[in-house]
């Protein structure tokens, strides 16, 4: 028996394209080529294998009428019971504050506007990613530094009505700041008189009232001197041959538009920011990635398809909606379905006022009405064709 050539294998397998997913085609082609090196495969065998693959694939497809949403909910819900309920404080390698486990998963599903611990992973362009100095320099550049961060001591002089800041020499050196630089920033942004006396800054309020002085003091302390708004802590880490910058706090748009940053890989864990900057499809991917990361980190294996379904539903309307009464569940067409979920009376009352009707074509409505539900075999209806010859179709 003579085996077929690798070329025939390729052409035979590529006939499957369009019928089965690309990944299956790819895997099959690779496997067949590998085996054909060890022993001859006949044409007949190839045909059998391809037919077998096709059958295995079609029998694995979800059947029409299958309750995929319920299955997804159960498949994510059950492992969820095993997750940590503890909210915070996971030191990890980078000493960054991370939200983990169930709280994080809830955060993702609820589509919260801001995560309780915002994080960014910033990849740098090659020039900067290879050198530790340059990566460090960049890290210093983006870390938000306020006046309070470089102050050794602050005091309010009530006799002379001035606010005095004593600056810390070493901290300023690290941040590449000088007293005159700081003074001019304060002068420019707050429009006040600043006197420099060595490492002491004397700031006078425009009107010499006590309340004005106090207000000035808080404003000066929080005044940003350098860095990117929102980025509160920065850690540089070596990862796979390059320096990667991790930050606490997030400002996706501003970081992405910096020239040092690799725009193709840098990410944040704030899904809303991703939606705003990169669009709904990127947000969907981010939801999938974040959910998988959270589950995997807890050692739980949930099939990716369930998570993808949830992410697709959350993003179906063109914007990220939560799974809950303000989002996916709250926008169901049926009044009864909505009323059975949360805030029953409000939904029923509103429906009465607006004269809504319920077509009873969902699951919950039919459960309430005590009818067979349109699911699985129940989702098919028999339609008879009247007139005609009868019995033809």
């Amino acid at each position: 028996m003579v085996g077929v050539s690798p070329d025939t294998i390729k052409t035979e397998v590529s006939k499957l394209e369009g019928e089965v997913p690309e990944s299956v085609v790819h895997e099959l082609r690779g496997a067949l080529l590998r085996v054909s090196k060890e022993r001859a495969i006949t044409r007949e065998q190839i045909e059998q294998i391809i037919e077998g693959v096709k059958q295995a694939y079609t029998s694995a497809i979800v059947e029409p009428g299958e309750a995929v949403g319920t299955i997804a909910a159960q498949s994510i819900g059950e492992p969820g019971t095993q997750m940590t309920l503890r909210t915070f404080h996971y030191a990890g390698v980078a000493e960054l504050n991370v939200t983990l486990g169930l709280p994080r998963l809830i955060e993702i599903i609820d589509a919260r506007k801001t995560p309780s611990a915002a994080l960014m992973t910033i990849y740098l362009k090659e020039k900067f990613a290879k050198s530790k100095e340059k990566a460090r320099e960049f890290a210093h550049k983006i870390e938000l530094t306020t006046v309070e961060d470089v102050a050794l001591q602050t005091e309010t002089d009530l006799i002379n009505m001035v606010f005095i800041i004593t600056l810390d020499r070493s901290r300023m050196q690290r941040k590449e700041l000088t007293p005159s630089k700081i003074a001019s920033t304060i002068k420019d942004t707050l429009n006040t008189d600043v006197g420099i006396d060595g490492y002491k800054l004397r700031i006078k309020p425009s009107t010499t009232t006590l309340s004005e002085l106090r207000k000035l003091a808080t404003r000066v302390r929080a005044l940003p001197l350098r860095g990117v708004k929102g980025i509160t802590r920065v850690v540089v880490k070596m990862e796979d041959d390059e320096y990667v910058v991790h930050t606490e706090g997030s400002n996706f748009l501003e970081i992405l538009s910096m020239p040092e940053v690799d725009q193709t890989r840098t990410v944040t864990n704030n899904i809303h920011e991703i939606e705003e900057v990169l669009g709904i499809e990127a947000a969907r991917n981010a939801i999938v990635n974040e959910a998988v990361k959270t589950l995997e980190e807890q050692g739980l294996n949930v099939d990716l398809r369930h998570i993808m379904l949830v992410a697709d539903m959350m993003c179906a309307s063109g914007e990220v909606r939560q799974v809950g009464r303000h989002g996916v569940s709250g926008e169901k067409a049926s009044v009864l379905a909505r009323a059975s979920f949360e805030i029953t009376t409000k939904h029923l009352l509103d429906a009465c006022i607006h004269g809504e009707s319920d077509k009873l074509d969902g699951i919950i409505e039919n459960v309430i009405a005590g009818q067979p539900i349109p699911l699985g075999t129940g989702s098919v209806e028999l339609v008879m064709r009247r007139g005609g010859e009868g019995g033809t179709k």
Binding site: P21, E22, S23, V24, V25, H26, L253, L256, S257, M258, P259, Q263, T264, R265, V267, I274, E276, V277, L278, G279, I280, E281, A282, N285, A286, L304, R305, M308, D312, C315, A316, S317, G318, E319
Partner: protein, 80 residues
């Protein structure tokens, strides 16, 4: 300090394309649906804006999928 942000280059953004009238017709026929039954995308969406999609268009989105290798998804562009 800004270099122009190219949305399409980011790893999280899959390929977006505007379908021609004929392709849309074929798509709707294939699945026996109307455009309003498709998932939506706003015309102000950065990825849609980048390819100049207008309300009423249908976008073909070719996602990289961990399960299927490549998966095609469609979205109907709405105003917003």
């Amino acid at each position: 300090m800004s270099s122009e942000l190219e949305v399409g280059r980011h790893a999280l953004v899959p390929k977006h394309e505007v379908l021609s009238k004929k392709e849309v017709e074929e798509l709707l026929k294939q699945y026996k649906i109307h455009t309003h039954q498709l998932p939506l995308i706003k015309s102000s969406d950065p990825a849609a804006k980048a390819i100049g999609a207008k309300p009423g268009d249908v976008l073909k989105i070719t996602r990289k999928s961990q399960t299927a290798g490549e998966a095609v998804f469609y979205r109907y562009v709405i105003e917003g």
